[in-house]
């Protein structure tokens, strides 16, 4: 009995003799374009009648590459269960060569990519603990080295890389001004609008000015600004330092005798601690402006009255307190961003992870430290 099938540039023919020996004759090219269909086709033909032996005649094969060899490998593994084997006959020299560089004789036996078995629960727990411990050590080492570098720069102000510092100030502060301004303006608008809905009922429209200015200067201004800076600059620090780490630039700095912390981290810290508080002031200003717009156009307040009420509400301490907080937030954001950058391992994936983690940890730390500031103020002020 015979079976044959035509493929694009290849043709094969199966015949089986009385004693169950199957012979397969292949003609034409055995390459990537037809290997898949050939494997499935031949497997299908042989499924119903498992051969006692399989002879593959390659006399008329004009071209065979490793996809073609794959077909033979598949046939070979199909035959490992049978009592007899696979015979390859009439292969041309060229085909023989290809099969020999592929080590055809050793292929097809028990091919499996044994995945590393995943370790049991206790091993994983232990590994996790060790990993956390070493992360923690790294974090403390980093904080220590930042403190030492800052101290060094305080004692030797000339060692501060001023160019880098000014460049960072521009990137962190000036470039962020439009978006910080816009968001704060809208925030002031929303706050004034929402509070006016309530305060109007008591005829206390003028207190909208107090509410917006106090909430903004004490809490929301520093927090909003810090969150925007974390998203813009904290992520950028992590990505920049992380990429430098994987492309061995950090190693280069180190072997050239530069302290990577002093070279990369200190200018960023100095820049952000100086510039973010001012960014916060702008944010407060724009929010108050937003409130003013609502006050003037919806609540029939005069601009004069609104500004006077704002000035009456705010104390210098409030402004100073917000200023201080945003300086602390800036320090946290920069430290976390740089730390995550230095922690990068592996490749592109590591950089991505570090960037995400820099933003998430910064925002968490901002909120956490803000609560701490609130508690301090409660018991101190």
């Amino acid at each position: 009995m015979r079976n044959s099938e035509d493929l694009q540039s290849c043709r094969y023919e199966v015949s089986q003799s009385e004693d169950g020996a199957v012979s397969l004759r292949i003609q034409g090219r055995m390459d990537a374009s037809n290997a898949g269909r050939m494997i499935e086709g031949i497997k299908f033909l042989l499924k119903d009648r498992p051969p006692s032996s399989l002879t593959v005649d390659l006399e008329k094969v004009t071209y065979l590459d490793d996809f073609g060899a794959l077909v033979l490998v598949e046939l070979k593994s199909l035959m490992t269960g049978a009592k007899d084997k696979l015979y390859i006959t009439n292969a041309s020299n060229k085909v023989e060569d290809v099969l020999s560089i592929l080590n055809f004789d050793t292929l097809g036996q028990g091919i499996s990519f044994t995945k590393k078995p995943s370790p049991n629960m206790f091993t994983r727990l232990g590994e996790g603990v060790f990993r956390q411990a070493s992360d923690l050590t790294f974090t403390f080492t980093f904080i220590g080295s930042v403190c030492l570098s800052l101290l060094y720069v305080c004692l030797h102000p000339k060692s501060l890389r001023t160019n880098d510092t000014f460049l960072s100030m521009e990137k962190i502060g000036v470039d962020a001004l439009p978006i910080v301004g816009l968001i704060s303006f809208l925030l002031g608008l929303i706050m004034a609008f929402m509070s006016s809905v309530q305060l109007r009922q008591f005829g206390a429209n003028i207190y909208v000015a107090s509410l917006v200015s106090l909430a903004m200067v004490r809490e929301l201004g520093p927090i909003m600004t810090a969150i925007i800076v974390a998203g813009r600059s904290g992520s950028a620090f992590a990505a920049e330092i992380g990429t430098m780490k994987i492309s061995e630039e950090i190693d280069a700095l180190f072997t050239m005798g530069f302290d990577p912390t002093r070279f990369l981290v200190v200018p960023k810290i100095v820049a952000s601690v100086i510039v973010v508080p001012f960014l916060t002031l702008f944010s407060n200003l724009f929010a108050i402006l937003g409130g003013l717009v609502v006050g003037v156009f919806m609540l029939e307040l005069t601009a004069n009255a609104y500004v006077a009420q704002t000035i009456k509400t705010l104390t210098l301490f409030d402004v100073f307190w917000g200023f201080l907080k945003s300086g602390a937030f800036a320090l946290l954001i920069t430290m976390v961003g740089c730390l995550r950058g230095f922690q990068v391992k592996g490749g592109a994936v590591g950089v991505g992870r570090a960037t995400t983690s820099a933003v998430v940890s910064s925002i968490f730390l901002i909120i956490l430290s803000d609560s701490i500031f609130a508690i301090i103020l409660r018991y101190w002020g």
């Binding site: 490793d66 996809f67 490998v73 290809v98 990519f113 592996g346 592109a348 994936v349």
Partner: protein, 257 residues
């Protein structure tokens, strides 16, 4: 003698970065089944030429015809068809860091062929065998050496048995032994699978070991200053730059700058 059929034809290619002319009207042919090397010192435009050949850069003017189709002026579909015919081994191997070697090699195979999953695994195993990386299927690129990365990159570049393989500085950063092994591998693959190879390099030993024919680019005329068999060029070329290059002479602003 094999029939001299061109698989790559470059006609009057002009490459510019902004206003800087890097390559000025260069033309050459690469014939089917040969190992063709592009030589030149640093800054001579080798890498720029390679990027034009593999479609990463658009020529300012001129044509790059790969197997009958102009890669610079063709529709999306033809472009993808051309990309299927070529494989590239990048200088840093460009393996995907988040995938194991087996997954790196399997990616193009399972994407572009209809092989069942087990056959893909078999084939990946064969490909890695071919570059002597058996046993490293489950390693990540960060866990293996530079030479191994190159070989794994080669296995991925030839995953679909492309008609033409491009190599960007294959022996850069490899020790002499590993580099010679890679050369052997290139010659073997060329002989057995008939793949056309285009190698961009300045490694003299490897040029003599593998290349059938070379062109040499030079900064002086922003184009080709020599073409032909490397041994012949070394012994007979009258061009001072070519002499310098093949004899590793330091020159006043000539060989390598």
């Amino acid at each position: 003698m094999m029939k001299r059929k061109s698989v790559i034809q470059v006609k009057d290619l002009v490459a510019k970065y902004g206003d800087d002319i890097i390559l000025d009207r260069i033309s050459f042919d690469v014939y089917e089944g040969e190992i063709f090397a592009v030589l030149g010192g640093s800054g001579s435009g080798k890498s720029t030429l390679l990027k034009h050949l593999i479609g990463l850069l658009q020529p300012y003017s001129g044509q790059v015809i790969i197997d009958g189709d102009d890669i610079a002026n063709c529709d999306e579909q033809t472009f993808h068809a051309i990309l299927r015919k070529i494989g590239v081994l990048y200088q840093s191997a460009a393996l995907f860091g988040s995938m194991t070697l087996a997954e790196n090699v399997a990616m193009p195979i399972s994407e572009y062929t209809d092989l069942p999953k087990t056959s893909v695994d078999n084939l990946v195993k064969m490909k890695l065998n071919l570059v002597h990386l058996d046993g490293y299927e489950n390693h990540l690129p960060s866990e293996i050496s530079g030479g191994m990365k190159k070989r794994a990159g080669l296995a991925r570049a030839m995953a679909l048995n492309p008609k033409i393989l491009f190599f960007d500085e294959p022996s850069a950063g490899l020790d002499p032994v590993t580099s010679a092994e890679l050369d052997n591998l290139i010659v073997n693959l060329n002989k057995n699978l008939g793949t056309t190879m285009v190698i961009v390099t300045h490694e003299l030993q490897s040029i003599f070991a593998v290349a059938h024919r070379v062109i040499m680019l030079h900064l002086s005329n922003r184009g080709i200053i020599a073409e032909g068999d490397p041994q012949y060029l070394r012994d007979h070329s009258q061009n001072p730059f070519v002499k310098q290059f093949f004899n590793r002479l330091a020159g006043n602003n000539a060989g390598i700058d």
